[in-house]
Symmetry: D3
Subunit: 315 residues, 6 copies
């Protein structure tokens, strides 16, 4: 477009500071042979949700929110310079929910198979996508899972099928992970049924309630769990359901409520966890940008990604 004075591509006629790199500038569409520290894929699926959810808008909203951040951490005095290889989003049929869930497994299997990245970022979507993502991520490996969530997500699947209330039940039932490989952090009162707490217990799932988080601190818990999982698994996957946060900090989750984590605790936890080499993937789920306030929850998700990247770099 250089032949015209002052013309810029549509939508780009924005202020640009020559010394500032925006976090979204790190995104780079995948082309064959590419390799880098981070890989990303979007999974815009929320029709499996029990309640009305527009979490399918979140992959775009989170990528967009990266524009609100720079690559520079003053706390660490370092710039994030590694590119995030963006593999795009997985195609979703409007009416074939089960097929969509299978396509996520297939698509992410292909993506992970490239080994193009050392660490993977998966953008949901509702929490049902973590079943597919973790299944694809596991391949034949033993995967440990650290789940930040107000809910167990261990519901029976007879009532409603593979909803966003079931991913970890299905991972256990399908032997993709074992109970002892799953650690749930931030589980909240009056937000789960007794039956599923019992089920978690029976399966050997480790559960830290919000009171545990407040009492033990997030870093203590993560330190213990990551070390425990590191010994019994090949690799660890973080599954971040944003509703682990209190409604005041994540107003855009479908299942908001009080009594949750504040955002600094989550951010500190992600930074802490990502220092561990065995942690090689993270998904972020349950953000519905269509009901959020000023994309606060997507902004927070973008910050979660940056903390993860900072931790990896700083390792």
């Amino acid at each position: 477009m250089s032949e015209f004075r002052h013309m810029m591509p549509a939508g780009k006629a924005l202020f640009k500071d020559r010394h500032t790199t925006k976090a979204n500038d790190l995104l780079q569409s995948y082309t064959s042979g590419m390799e880098n520290e981070f890989g990303m894929a979007g999974v815009p699926l929320s029709k499996p949700s029990i309640s009305h959810s527009g979490a399918s808008f979140a992959p775009s909203a989170i990528r967009e929110a990266l524009k609100s951040f720079t690559t520079y951490s003053g706390e660490e005095g370092m710039d994030l310079t590694e590119r995030i290889i963006d593999f795009g989003d997985i195609y979703m049929s409007p009416t074939d929910i089960i097929g969509n869930q299978e396509r996520i497994v297939e698509g992410l299997t292909d993506v992970f198979a490239t080994k193009a990245a050392k660490n993977w970022l998966v953008l949901g979507g509702d929490h049902s996508i973590s079943y597919s993502s973790i299944k694809a991520f596991a391949g034949g490996k033993k995967v440990g899972v650290i789940q930040f969530d107000a809910h167990h997500d261990l519901r029976n699947t007879e009532d409603g099928g593979p909803t966003n209330g079931t991913p970890f039940r299905r991972l256990l039932e399908d032997n993709i992970i074992k109970g002892e490989h799953l650690s749930q952090i931030g589980i909240r009162d009056f937000t789960n049924a007794a039956a599923y707490d019992r089920y978690a217990s029976e399966q050997g799932v480790t559960v830290y309630t919000m009171a545990d988080v407040d009492r033990l601190t997030i870093t203590k818990i993560l330190d213990e769990e990551i070390q425990r999982l590191a010994e019994i698994t090949d690799v660890i996957y973080l599954s971040v359901d944003m509703d682990v946060l209190d409604q005041a900090f994540a107003p855009g989750c479908p299942a908001i409520g009080p009594g949750g984590m504040d955002s600094k605790t989550l951010l500190k936890g992600i930074l802490f966890a990502s220092h561990y080499e065995k942690i090689q993937a993270m998904d972020i789920v349950e953000i519905d940008p269509s009901i959020d306030f000023r994309n606060m929850t997507s902004r927070l998700a973008a910050y979660v990604i940056l903390q993860f990247m900072k931790g990896k770099k700083n390792r």
Copy 2:
């Protein structure tokens, strides 16, 4: 409706997990002779408010918010199983405010007289309803009142009559309670007049400011006050004005502002207080669902109720 395949009553064709009891499932409309741990009545009155208020919508909004919670506390490993006997709402005339306030006294007197419940939950409405509710609750008994509030609510009644700024002044002036029977927690700077702070003093009302709460902790304050009141009164009533909370945690109160309590402090306080047997009633007031964000404040009110119930059960 069983003769038709797949038909459900209107509005109920929702997902149902067979193992989950929703908190609103505990509500049970009163029929004669019924007895249980908890009783509930709604008081949908907010026309006495000084400012424009839709707090009359709160009884419905809070009952609705109970649908967002289950009955299970993982922290305590116990299920709330006692029913809440729901006596319904008190009829409100559109134009007869004073009559409405008298009808609340009459209606709640009849409700409390059933002795159907050990503990009572009263859903406002604006704070003016606490005058009527406490008057009905007192009957001939000596009632201690612990008021969570940013405001004294001790205004003179010549300027505007029995508004939501006056309930505790009127209780004192009408000798329904004595000053020493009233404990105010969370009183905030630049939110009250000097004259009413002085009046509280003169009347022997105990006042804990937000700075006191931050310095002493909510449990310390409640421990001291409940013990003090327990000695001089027959029974204690909690009056929870949600605007005791900081605006970030209770965005749906008419009189929002900064500098208030966070929601965890309130929830901890309610749980702590409800362990005491003398605490036998709680009202929740000053939520305007029509200006809230995603019913956050009603959700929090529902959680307050569940904490109260948990404390009672766990006693």
Copy 3:
């Protein structure tokens, strides 16, 4: 509740004028053997939608909107007094979309089989539900369909399956109706593909564009079409996609746009059509209450129902 002064059932402590009957008072839950002029069923399904849609909330929103109207038509000097037998809503699985579409056929087949009502009101949901509803309604009969819509809804089903863009294509392909039995009114420019206009033509579907409506008037068109269909079918079904209306009049449809019908034209058309005895069913679809302004579109849907009832009574 009569033993307590002033107590009303929860949520009912509202103003009541003794001389006024609200339109929702006409709703009466079905019990065996009941018969009346009108029957109603809700179909809260919108997951088949191509775009994000909360049309599943519409059955409740429309029933609620009936509370904003009375039963009295001053224009005709008559009161609607016939009850609407409400069969409730059809159960929807969160994850089994195709199964839901089959369950709608089964459920409505059972409902229609009661012959409890002379005229039927079906509340969607997105437009995909009309396939199931018309299939159930047809039984063995020849059904004429008058579709108010900005869109043909004749998309191929390979791209996305049985979405809300396909109901009439599927009805034709499954031989439930013939092309000459379908009349589309309000089809709009730049809102459809050439291929589907051609398909309509080839199938013998009658199409009236918005320019036709403006030029010929709605009553002229309806008069002609109803007479034509009456001769070749046993019964006529109105399918009212609210997006036939201009966005200024129906702000709560997922696919809003300019260049559509104004609300008076639609209301006049419904009244006119309902005078014909062969018109015995109407569905109302494509209202998403979660994105509407002050439930305007659901209010309009309620008015559409009342016009239909007025026409039937006045016949």
Copy 4:
């Protein structure tokens, strides 16, 4: 403030075009002895409303909306130059509704008694204020009333007292006006009870439904009614309930609905009516700015005032 460069009074540092007079510049606070063409008073009362209403905010919102208009009518090639003497608003007690209604009578009686203006503009508030305003306006005179409204407002007062559904019933019952002195225009289907239509009939009230308006045109109706009323009354008062308009044109009325008047019809009617000398007062009621979209309804109210003034000037 002239000693400081560039300083303006707080809130006034706005763009000012030297050649443009804003409509609100015509407002002039009353001081003794003042006389002019127009007088204005605000009546910020909406607590008598049957439904939750913030119409008490409308007097301020309408005055504010006058800032969006100039004084110049290009259609007539004339500038409005007469001042509107602003008598301010009537004080409202938060809890004494009946007293407020009496104070409106007293306050407006004093205002009208000044004879400072030839024509009066009264800004509600809900429609209950028209009782007080017309009572004050009548003094001993015979007043004709032309009411633009979707509703009769002839409810019995036993159910709820002097609400916004009763002003014209009360005027009739208190013999302030006679049935034949009242003309209702825009009465809508399914918006009133049969009993009140009958009551209107029995009292000799003239009723024009929306279908009448569409069929006869607003100017025909007004011409007939004004001439009829002019013969039997001393003076005529317009009472403009903005919900006479369709919801698409007046989204900020508490009782919005479809099937109403469009805004051009109302504006044309007001202009037409105001040419008649006997028309000497107008109230505008039932705007709730707190639920409006971008103050559209208050902007329209401001335009109604300007049409009234244009008609008077152009007389």
Copy 5:
């Protein structure tokens, strides 16, 4: 991305109907030598506005709104197939408003100089951009301008400089057009100052008020004006200020108000006008997407563009 199953570029994993062409598919970024029927450029400038305006977001919002439309006109039985060459947006400095206005002239001069398109679409921005756009468009030619607007936009520039209230004044003062070359349609009462109506007169500007439009019809006016201008100018430019529309139809304009045009009238006018060969450019201005309701006003703008294209094709 074809090496991965189901992966699509980020943000594109959407439903795609193989037979449907979306209107935005017609957009094609300019590359050297390209030629087609239509050219487009965005001018994201709204800081010159007198009131707070986010009209700088409109070029993106309008392009985005084109996604809501197809290319097919059923009314005409034809598909729009010509590409719109998109030259992108003009760079805007955050602080140099006057420089921005000059850069628009330079950028558009370069764009128009390509002669790549027969007809030009310029997307504002506030109305101040029309000065620059028309200046660039004129080059040495005599340009006729048909302005759809509620306002004259002939303010003096001493009060506030080259704001959105001044573009046509500046065109006249700078001799870029003559008064007789300017035709203003839809000018509204109480929306302009007498001084500027007088100025229009003195300059020989033709003015059609809203009453004129209602009385004469838009096609009559356009027919007359286009023929008149065609004789005295080389080429005609349409400048469409969306606030010519009534607030009910264009809720997203900064200066909304009642008494304006309905959207069908505007759409009909644009279609009619675009049949004339001398009409070779159109701008659309004064849409602020940040205050609109569901992008209604941008959707309407997209429809205006499509009507223009339809008229050109159908010529």
Copy 6:
């Protein structure tokens, strides 16, 4: 207005408690010779902002928010009684941004020159106004600046001119302050560019990140910085960019994000700092009331002012 019963000035017919002084009652328009503890000026400029900003509405919104507070601090047992002399707002041209910035210097220079107040409150506007304000405040004096901000605001001015990203760069480059005179508190990760952190370092600016604030406490930091600055400067100016706060506490800032300060920390810091005599001015910037939730951020700004006043009184 005393000659009329119940009439109050327009907009003032509100509840008034005779014993309560509202914080806005302390505002007093300046007249010559006036002297008091506090002076205030509004600077309604936000067009220099890099992103779309309505911060120009903040001076009015903050003054309005003072109405939500009283003058009484129960924590200190004292009433604020000193008046705030309000010098009004500085006139802003719609199109001359640079001129506006110069006019701010001139206007505030004249205001400060009165020496009418001991302490000054400047209400922005975006942060660009702090350049002008500090320049005017400095006169010939050495000014220390304590900046609460998530951002350095040290951008180069070639990219975009004197935006809200540049005020402190420009103060340094123009030698109005030296690097060692500037202390930045609350600087956040991923919110700044490395180049500007480096620039801060090179210039000798002191930087406290959010992690520093969390680790050291706000009072420790302020104590150290104020003492340091007190020794090398004549007077200290607080510049409070509200986006130093976490998005949960200041939802109305243009550049919201997570990871920031909570409101209690800011309020404590302001109270602490204002005890120091050398602190004699404070600005509050970057609040956009048009995108806030219920004016929360302006309410917080009002509380910041009151804390400042409390600290000064309590000194």
